[in-house]
């Protein structure tokens, strides 16, 4: 876990005082709402339907117990006792008062946290693989580069008033869990024949109204050139990105309108003529940062844990949980624990202050004090001994945190939708809840196998519905909410955008429609064939028939 030095602390403290002053000027009327708006947005403060929402940055999704306990404290003192983990690995509080915000930011600064650039037309919180530093398949931990990018992008004077928001994701694994192909910039680590590190640079991916898969502009950018190259991309976007229409302002539209070749040429021209000395990634700085992410001192353990195997044989519920919620760790005798924030009928990504404290405590006792937030709105204990899994499961169970549905039908991603969001055209939380109830039977979920259902409450696609196996988009037709269903999307390595099946459904009919889709899959799948593979083989036709025939 990265630790602030005196300079990082001073930076964040300056920022809190600056915001306190700006908020006071707004409260006294010296600043108009229009003038205050971009200032508060750059500090993560949105005005929603009923109150202010404060979005707190969880850089590359990493937390420790002190941070999570502070979030629990804030939830109780200034909000309604819970918080909401988002698809960008951040945490949102939905019931915040403007007058309290500076105090909350000061409290966050005590545990080296902030809300800088969690909204606004600037470079947003960088995201990465939630299993970084733990995954068995990883080339290297992407978090040092994540931290480097966080620092470089923080209050960057040139890139704080971009045409639109800008999202960067980093992965250090060949199996992309950070969805780098659907980000404004995706960075993907490769090693060359000599074992040197280089980054593949992907640009112009995104969801929203116009879902696009990113194009690769560099296959192998030497690591020390990374920041300089990012600056060239950002400058081309800042100068030539559209500002006349906010729906056409993302970098993906620029890449699309001028063409990938021309875009690449612009970036290379800009890159070639700039002095790079001041943006070179310095080895000493990278080493300084990397030291904080050194792997914990894992014990030498046998691969096989008798305690664990015995518990698994005796307890079927535990065995089920292990099947879905545990992932392979790179150290023998250890495992990655995924904690589902998707209980039956619950609000995806919500956690109460008590639950946060339970997880914080478990992390401290069993996981080298590390916690991760996944972009699927779940939590992760990255470094757990297999010997301890059963004990952890029991504690989680007592706090309604042991649902064994990671990656299954109940593990639904949903944006806040019309319950909170002022841009929403439909509700998404109640739809998630009703689908979750429909598939409440965990045995059935296990029988169905891996299935990603994502829901967005409007075309902005914060719920990532385009890249879901089953995507649900809430729209509004003459004051009535209705839901469009897409099939076959994926944000994994073979990324694809889902296809719209046909006319939409009323909210109450959505769970039934999902059921029909799932039944069609079950009837037609080949042995061992997962939903996505079956859909890719069968195409949309049989699903269309099931949904619309004889209607």
């Amino acid at each position: 876990m990265y630790r602030y030095d005196e300079f990082d602390s001073q930076f964040v403290n300056d920022r809190v005082s600056q915001f306190r002053d700006q908020a006071n000027r707004r409260l006294t009327g010296e600043l108009s709402e229009d003038e205050f708006r971009p200032l508060r947005l750059m500090n993560g403060l949105y005005l929603q339907l009923h109150a202010y929402m404060l979005r707190i940055a969880v850089p590359y999704g990493s937390l420790d117990s002190a941070k999570l306990n502070t979030l629990a404290y804030i939830a109780e003192k200034w909000d309604r006792g819970y918080g909401h983990f988002t698809t960008r690995q951040n945490l949102q509080f939905n019931w915040i008062k403007l007058e309290d915000t500076a105090d909350i930011l000061a409290k966050l600064a005590e545990v080296e946290m902030h809300a800088i650039q969690t909204s606004g037309n600037c470079i947003r919180n960088v995201t990465t693989d939630q299993w970084a530093g733990a995954a068995a398949d990883e080339i290297a931990d992407p978090r040092p580069i994540g931290e480097l990018v966080r620092q470089w992008s923080s209050l960057h004077p040139e890139f704080s008033y971009l045409p639109r928001k800008f999202k960067i994701a980093v992965t250090g694994s060949p199996n992309d869990r950070a969805a780098v192909r659907v980000h404004d910039i995706g960075l993907r680590l490769h090693l060359n024949d000599r074992g040197e590190r280089g980054w593949e640079v992907l640009v112009g991916g995104g969801l929203g109204r116009t879902p696009v898969i990113a194009v690769t502009v560099r296959d192998f950018l030497p690591e020390h050139e990374l920041i300089a190259y990012l600056e060239a991309i950002m400058r081309v976007y800042n100068l030539y990105g559209r500002r006349d229409n906010k729906y056409k302002a993302r970098i993906k539209i620029l890449v699309h309108e001028i063409g990938a070749e021309k875009f690449r040429a612009e970036v290379e021209t800009e890159y070639a003529r700039r002095p790079h000395a001041d943006t070179k990634v310095e080895e000493r700085e990278l080493q300084r940062i990397s030291a904080y992410f050194a792997a914990p001192q894992f014990e030498k353990l046998p691969r096989w844990s008798a305690t664990f195997e015995e518990a698994r044989a005796k307890n079927k519920d535990f065995a089920n949980w292990v099947r879905t919620n545990i992932a392979a760790h790179r150290a023998d005798g250890y495992a990655i624990v995924n904690i589902s924030l998707k209980p039956e009928g619950g609000i995806p990504g919500d956690a109460t202050a008590d639950q946060m404290r339970v997880v914080a405590d478990l992390a401290q006792r069993y996981s080298f004090d590390e916690i991760r937030v996944s972009h699927h709105q779940n939590l992760v204990l990255p470094h757990v001994k297999r010997d301890d899994l059963f004990a952890i499961w029991k504690v989680l169970q007592a706090s309604e945190l042991a649902t064994s549905n990671i990656g299954l039908a109940g593990d639904i991603i949903a944006c806040p939708g019309l319950d909170y969001c002022s841009l929403a055209t439909a509700r998404s939380i109640p739809i998630a809840q009703s689908i979750s109830r429909k598939f409440a039977d965990l045995n059935r979920q296990h029988e169905i196998g891996p299935l990603r259902i994502n829901i967005s409450g409007c075309i902005n696609a914060c719920g990532h519905h385009h890249v879901a196996h089953i995507g649900i988009l809430g729209l509004d037709k003459k004051g009535e909410e209705f839901y469009q269903i897409t099939l076959g999307g994926s944000s994994a390595d073979s990324a694809s955008i889902g296809t719209i099946l046909g006319p939409g459904f009323a909210g109450e009919d959505v769970p039934e429609a999902i059921e029909k889709i799932v039944n069609t899959y079950l009837a037609r799948r080949q042995p061992g064939e997962e939903f996505l593979a079956a859909y890719r083989r069968l195409g949309p036709q049989p699903f269309k028939e099931a949904l619309y025939a004889a209607a």
């Binding site: 030095d5 300079f7 040139e158 400058r235 800042n238 100068l239 003529r273 000395a277 001041d278």
Partner: protein, 176 residues
């Protein structure tokens, strides 16, 4: 319009000319970029300093030819959320241009520090805010994470502070 420059508020003594305004025989004049292109021959002989008002969609490469003769470049902020001029300013400074670079249009106190950091050194300010508000806002943050920015006294960059034992970082000369 009053100007904020070098930490104080001063009167602007440049004469701003439109596309068709008659050119005075002498004095410091600033003209739109289109006029600079059209009347370059006569403007270059003008008795007095010459400045240009650039627009957001012009390319800095096109300006290179004129730079040695220019003593003022004005970049517009049509609205304070339009950030193109931040990149233009840096591009202009990267060519080595060292004379006055002015921000005009919708300039607000909370953006001034960023503008200073990318190389602006004068600001057209209305009369809505007091000098004190402007000055306070221009030094809100004492540190910047990026290297190679223009800095005002009391402001540092994290890299140089953090790695004091390393080669001293060459300060960018502050223009104006």
């Amino acid at each position: 319009m009053p100007l904020l420059k070098n930490g104080s508020i001063i009167i602007d003594d440049w004469i701003t000319l439109g596309l068709d305004d008659p050119k005075p025989d002498s004095g410091d004049i600033v003209v739109p970029y289109a006029r600079l292109l059209k009347e370059w021959e006569s403007l270059t002989d003008h008795d007095g300093r010459l400045g240009v008002i650039f627009t957001n969609i012009d390319r800095v490469e096109a300006l290179t030819l004129f730079l040695p003769r220019l003593a003022l470049i004005v970049l517009p902020f049509p609205s304070f959320t339009d950030g193109r001029a931040y990149s233009l300013a840096r591009q202009i400074r990267e060519t080595g241009y060292g004379r006055e670079l002015r921000a005009a249009g919708n300039v607000l106190p909370d953006q001034v520090q960023f503008m200073l950091q990318v190389g602006f050194d004068s600001f057209e300010i209305g009369d809505r805010f007091t000098a004190e508000v402007w000055l306070k806002a221009s030094r809100q943050m004492s540190l910047a994470y990026q290297r190679g920015l223009y800095r005002t006294p009391g402001q540092h960059d994290v890299w140089s502070e953090r790695h004091r034992e390393a080669e001293p970082w060459l300060e960018q000369p502050h223009a104006g």
